[in-house]
Symmetry: C3
Subunit: 145 residues, 3 copies
């Protein structure tokens, strides 16, 4: 069993660069599949700055981009995601979130949808309005390893 950290530093800086001791994600390899544990991911850019402070719609889009790139770094896609936990700073944004996600999954042909939960929580920075963590199970290709 091998474990390694996941990163997508072209869109999202490494958290430990500003003193936060967590990985953007962890990959755990089992014989036939790999489990991906994607950290709580928000609208943060490659320099570690908040992308579009206080702008809910733009932040949702960036959050999905960041997670997509983290998945891609492991040759995974949203089809491999089995669960997401969504934290929203203000639950009155929930319907906007749902609209975006519905479009996003339709555009990417993701069905069945991952299981999920969404609750309201204050996040680590005041200007961040949404944060999503994700868990994926990725089947290994026959000819890999």
């Amino acid at each position: 069993m091998k474990k390694r950290q996941i990163s997508a530093s072209n869109v999202l800086n490494e958290a430990y660069k500003y003193g936060s001791s967590f990985s953007r994600g962890m990959a755990v390899e089992f014989p036939q599949y790999t489990m991906l544990y994607i950290s709580g991911t928000a609208s943060v850019d490659e320099k570690g700055d908040t992308y579009k402070p206080y702008d809910f719609d733009a932040q949702v889009e960036r959050t999905y981009l960041n997670i997509t790139k983290l998945l891609e770094s492991e040759n995974a896609t949203w089809h491999d995601v089995v669960f997401t936990t969504v934290y929203i700073k203000d639950m009155s944004d929930y319907s906007k979130f749902n609209d975006y996600r519905t479009e996003f999954f339709k555009k990417n042909n993701v069905f069945p949808f991952p299981a999920s939960v969404c609750v309201q929580s204050r996040l680590c920075r005041d200007d961040l309005l949404v944060e999503i963590e994700a868990q994926a199970v990725v089947e290994k290709k026959e000819n890999s390893d």
Copy 2:
């Protein structure tokens, strides 16, 4: 490895019927066992309406019923649940929650208890007071598949 969505539409509508793009649960089949990821589940009925708005005790009961039926759809029970995450809108309801859960597990002979966490969070609808997500690991029967 097969993945499929879980549903229990006789007690709990499909979330995507009202525009929420998540499954009520996901089942991931591995060679010897199946992992179940049950979405955040609340006191919602088969039409998608809140069952007993603002009534904590009734909502807890309904939430456990809904999860029980989601588990049953995969021939699983609460004995297979390894972790639950409990979100309560008002933490002053925590002792009532504990009392219900203790009785429920006693009645269903669930021991050891699942691991768990309980925090306070505002939920997706104002009239919902409790929401629970669950993860289960279900052993496959020798003669199945």
Copy 3:
């Protein structure tokens, strides 16, 4: 597949001793590895009392101690942890939390860091300021079982 509850009763009482029907953690044994699901763990002592009420720094230290002992009960360490969920009662304590965690992981030579998320939530007791849940994947020794 065997499941068993995890405990570390020399530092942390059993939750069911005060009527909370959850295990401090669950271990699920698979053929080649064991998955550990550590419950939301806070600054609670072996009698079930809050250790250092309202003292954030002392509570973070105790919380890490409690989880360390739960891991040790399964011959696991923080190197096996793949994900943590951190709940803080007041997000203004986040940088203090990060400083402690960075030191703790440095001292214990933990790298890569686990994936993680941190949000603000009110916890089950007013005098508790931090709570952490953790998931670990522990490889089985060749000569065990």
